[in-house]
């Protein structure tokens, strides 16, 4: 995994970008056909129409329970965006403060493949960005992050802005 250290947009915190050999139309199928989507993400009943509600059955590293989603944008084969109401948010969260948004952007590359950009953002990270914009907080956050990195296996770099950005 490579790391990018440039500052990222204020609102985009969890970003994964990669090059895929397959064309956007094929990648689109893997994102929007329930069986194919289930084979790499989670069991689901997705329907790629704006306003359609669907669920993921979360398991393993996704936590447990149901992730409730609603399609916010669907422009085959280039843009898919849905809300992500996490399993951990079902209890105790009537005002849905834990809602977030997942966006897939597919761009055809010169060799007929796909550049995939996945962004998972939404309220919680937006708040963190806002909070981290106070310099004193950034400093303490970096200390906290360094401490946590020491405890865990390192998976990504943390740019000075407090944002997160990495490339798969």
């Amino acid at each position: 995994m490579n790391h990018e250290t440039e500052p990222n947009d204020a609102t985009e915190f969890v970003i994964v970008e990669c090059e895929l050999a397959e064309p956007p139309a094929k990648v689109w199928r893997a994102l929007t056909e329930p069986t194919l989507l289930a084979s790499w993400l989670m069991p689901n009943d997705i329907r790629p129409d704006v306003g359609a509600r669907f669920t993921f059955q979360a398991e393993g590293d996704a936590g447990g329970g149901v992730i409730a989603c609603e399609v916010l944008a669907a422009e085959p084969p280039h843009l898919l965006r849905y809300s992500w109401h996490g399993a951990d948010a079902n209890r105790d969260d009537p005002d849905r403060v834990l809602d977030s948004v997942v966006t897939f952007v597919l761009t055809e590359t010169a060799n007929g493949g796909t550049h995939l950009r996945l962004v998972h953002d939404g309220f919680p990270i937006g708040a963190l960005q806002s909070v981290a914009s106070a310099t004193a907080t950034v400093a303490s956050l970096e200390v906290e992050r360094a401490r946590r990195r020491d405890r865990r296996s390192p998976v990504a770099n943390v740019p000075a802005q407090g944002g997160l950005r990495w490339v798969a």
Binding site: D88, L98, H120, F123, P124, A127, L128, V131, T137, S140
Partner: protein, 104 residues
């Protein structure tokens, strides 16, 4: 759930602004109030919510109470990000395998 409490505490823009001001330095309620067009009781209420979520701490000295942020209070937010930071790259690797196995 503590995570929801932290997010809820920061969901309010005024409360977030209070938190951001305290991130600059420790302040009393009246110092804090001078930056906002809201009453001192309202400020105190926001501080209570921030303290309840573990985001702000109080330090008493004589007759005065001073407020400062506790960066450890942001841990639930960091956990949220860490979870998905680990989650998505792994799933994208699986997506790559699925694409290779698909019909043309």
């Amino acid at each position: 759930m503590i995570e929801a409490e932290v997010f809820r505490a920061l969901a309010d823009p005024t409360r977030r602004a209070v938190y951001e001001r305290l991130a600059g330095r420790e302040m009393t309620v009246s110092e804090l109030k001078s930056g906002f067009a809201i009453s001192q009781p309202a400020i105190s209420q926001h501080l209570a919510a921030l303290r309840g979520a573990g985001l702000v701490r109080e330090r008493r000295q004589g007759r005065h109470a001073y407020y400062h942020i506790d960066p450890r209070g942001l841990a639930p937010l960091l956990d949220w990000i860490d979870r998905y930071r680990a989650f998505w790259p792994k799933r994208i690797e699986k997506l790559k395998d699925v694409l290779k196995g698909m019909d043309p």
